[in-house]
């Protein structure tokens, strides 16, 4: 029996600056025979002994090297930001339950999920780092969704320079994704929408016959939920990825508990109807 907390060594092979304090790291695992694979929306634990471990969502395309996009936020992440190509980290996971399209994908790579179990289209509402756990899905849209499904993204950031994965935007748009951006405040050189991500609901036609996927900072959920509900999304068609403090990642330490569920094991993605009655979940 191997320890639940053992990690696999991975070497940093590429670092791309995304914003002033966010970097995209690409990793290659030391053990050649090991193939990392994840479902969109799951997370891994990254470890730098001496600096601890924390959860991060893989955002690479299926079959490619593991990529983690990390904001420098404290002890571990600040240290990670000082590392160079060739430096090594420990990774365990992936863990948890991702977006609802994901599980079927793993059972059969060829199988495309017909109409998202009843709903054809997809509305993605994200703020800040919330786009990270959706990138895998977006880069491989046709693998996960019907060709004629409409994917609409409402993506809010503090300022234009805070948008992540800007290099991917053109490809996503070429794939037919309706990417709508907004920034918190007016600023020079920005002629797009200004306001919180919820403002986009009032200024754009919201895709219908869709599921909604929500991911962002804790305060975003209340407001985003209100908006999607105004647009007649039913609770069982709304999915949220929750952020919680995590230590074990495998449903033991209790830090991430939400009601009778664990964010690390039963989430991080929950159907809204599963958690709406749990106090403090949102």
């Amino acid at each position: 029996m191997q320890s639940l907390y053992q990690t696999k060594t991975a070497k940093i092979v590429k670092i791309t600056e995304q914003t002033e304090n966010i970097k995209l790291f690409e990793f290659r695992f030391e053990q050649k025979s090991f193939k990392f694979s994840h479902e969109p929306g799951q997370f891994t634990m990254l470890s730098l002994p001496g600096f601890g471990e924390a959860p991060f969502a893989p955002c690479n395309s299926i079959g490619k090297n593991l990529e983690l996009c990390v904001r420098a936020a404290g002890k571990l992440t600040n240290k990670l930001h000082t590392l160079k190509i060739g430096d090594k980290v420990g990774i365990r996971g992936p863990y948890g339950r991702g977006w609802p399209i994901a599980s079927a994908q793993v059972k059969n790579e060829k199988l495309k999920i017909k109409s998202l179990e009843g709903k054809k289209n997809l509305l993605i509402v994200v703020g800040g780092l919330g786009l990270i756990p959706l990138r895998t899905l977006l880069s491989d849209k046709d693998r996960f969704l019907d060709k004629d499904s409409i994917v609409q993204i409402f993506y809010g950031a503090k300022a234009p320079e805070e948008f992540l994965f800007k290099k991917d935007f053109d490809k996503w748009r070429a794939d037919g994704i309706d990417l709508q951006l907004t920034v918190d405040n007016e600023c020079e050189g920005w002629d797009g929408c200004v306001g919180l991500v919820t403002a986009l609901f009032d200024r754009r036609n919201v895709v219908s016959d869709a599921k909604a996927f929500l991911c962002g900072p804790p305060i975003m959920y209340k407001f985003a939920l209100k908006k999607v509900k105004e647009h007649k999304f039913k609770d069982e068609n709304i999915y949220l990825s929750l952020e919680r403090r995590m230590h074990c990642g495998v449903g033991v330490c209790q830090h991430c508990a939400v009601g009778s569920s664990y964010t690390c094991k039963d989430g991080p993605v929950f159907q809204y109807s599963e958690i709406k009655d749990v106090e403090g979940a949102i």
Binding site: M1, Q2, S3, L4, Y5, Q6, T7, T9, S47, L48, P49, G50, F51, G52, E53, R71, A73, G74, T77, K88, V89, G90, P217, P218, I219, E243, R244, R245, H247, C248, V250, V252, C253, Q254, H255, A257, G259, S260, D277, E279, G280
Partner: protein, 335 residues
């Protein structure tokens, strides 16, 4: 088995195991209390209705334990070493809490390694929890829902005869049988574990509390408790079923080396639910105390089909502001 033979068994085990058991010690203030101590002398062993002040938790789930030594990015899988320990005289309530540890840590190598070196010896003398609570009564049917290696049932007619009791002996595992066989005692009864607590009444009460906690929010209870609780965390330390933990790194002096540890944590502490950006999901005392009760009376029952409380009242005994679990549960029931 009579008391003389019991002493012989104690001495026999002492040759290959460290024996820990209940012993009377002087606590601060000259008060006497029962504590789980290393024993070399059978006469110091106390088997009576006094509950050990602290439970056996720290042996099963230590306050801090090394998961790995590390060197740079590598976590070194060194075979863990642990002592062979015989727990000589665990009361039924503390035995019940081991069922929970075994469930929670069933996939945990460190725990399993340590656990495999334990010999658990129980007895049926039920703790007296003070005048306010009806003492629980031992019933032989409980045996098949407890996990132990050897169990001693003090025979009725011998109770009270200080130092000269007679016991019926039960073996609950191959390990227990082997120990008794090798010791040369053949007159034991084998008990097969029939799963977690199944007694009808307990299950009924468990379902009711779970249902109340999950579906009938009664914020008043928690607001009121939130005003009284000072978040000292003493109840978490004393409670045998509180097992929440953090994982921390302890750097050694040498650059790049140290130890990754699992340490007790408490949901009463502010950082417990804090994420980056400083947001705390449990952001007030009422919320945290609710989390504590929810874990024991809703989440554990759902996950393991057992109560997350063995009814030992240690939490009430240590609480500086007099929060009493019995009253809280009554309030939940009546809510």
């Amino acid at each position: 088995m009579d008391s003389r033979q019991l002493k012989n068994l104690f001495d026999y085990l002492g040759k290959s195991w460290l024996i820990f058991g209940p012993k009377e010690i002087k606590a601060g203030g000259g008060e006497r209390q029962i504590s789980i101590e290393l024993l070399s002398d059978f006469d110091k062993l106390v088997w009576d209705e006094r509950l050990p002040f602290y439970s056996f938790k720290r042996f099963f789930v230590p306050e801090a334990e090394g998961l790995f030594k590390y060197r740079n990015e590598k976590l070194l899988d060194e075979p863990a070493q642990s002592d062979k320990i015989a727990f000589f005289g665990m009361n039924v309530l503390d035995l019940r809490s081991t069922l929970l540890y075994d469930q929670v840590f069933r996939e945990d190598v460190c725990y399993q390694q340590r656990r495999s070196n334990f010999l658990v010896i129980g007895h049926n003398i039920m703790p007296n929890l003070g005048p306010a609570v009806k003492p629980q009564v031992f019933d032989e049917n409980m045996l098949e829902h407890l996990s132990f290696d050897i169990f001693f049932l003090a025979l009725k007619n011998s109770i009270g005869r200080e130092g000269a009791r007679d016991y019926a002996v039960f073996a609950g595992s191959p390990k227990g049988q082997k120990v008794l066989d090798n010791f040369g005692y053949k007159d034991y009864i084998k008990v097969e574990f029939k799963g977690l607590v199944k007694e009808g009444l307990i299950i009924e009460r468990m379902q009711m509390l779970k249902d109340k906690l999950e579906n009938h929010h009664s914020p008043k209870i928690w607001e009121e408790l939130g005003k009284r609780c000072i978040e000292c965390g003493k109840c978490t330390i004393a409670c045998p079923t509180c097992f929440c933990f953090r994982i921390d790194d302890e750097p050694a002096l040498k650059e790049g080396e140290g130890e990754r540890e699992r340490c007790w944590d408490s949901c009463y502490y502010q950082e417990f639910s804090e994420v980056s950006g400083g947001h705390k999901f449990l952001d007030n005392t009422a919320g945290r105390i609710h989390f504590w009760y929810f874990h024991k009376f809703a989440r554990i029952p759902k996950e393991y089909n057992m109560l997350g409380c063995v009814g030992c009242r240690r939490c009430a005994a240590v609480c500086p502001v007099g929060i009493d679990i019995k009253e809280v549960l009554r309030n939940i029931e009546q809510s």
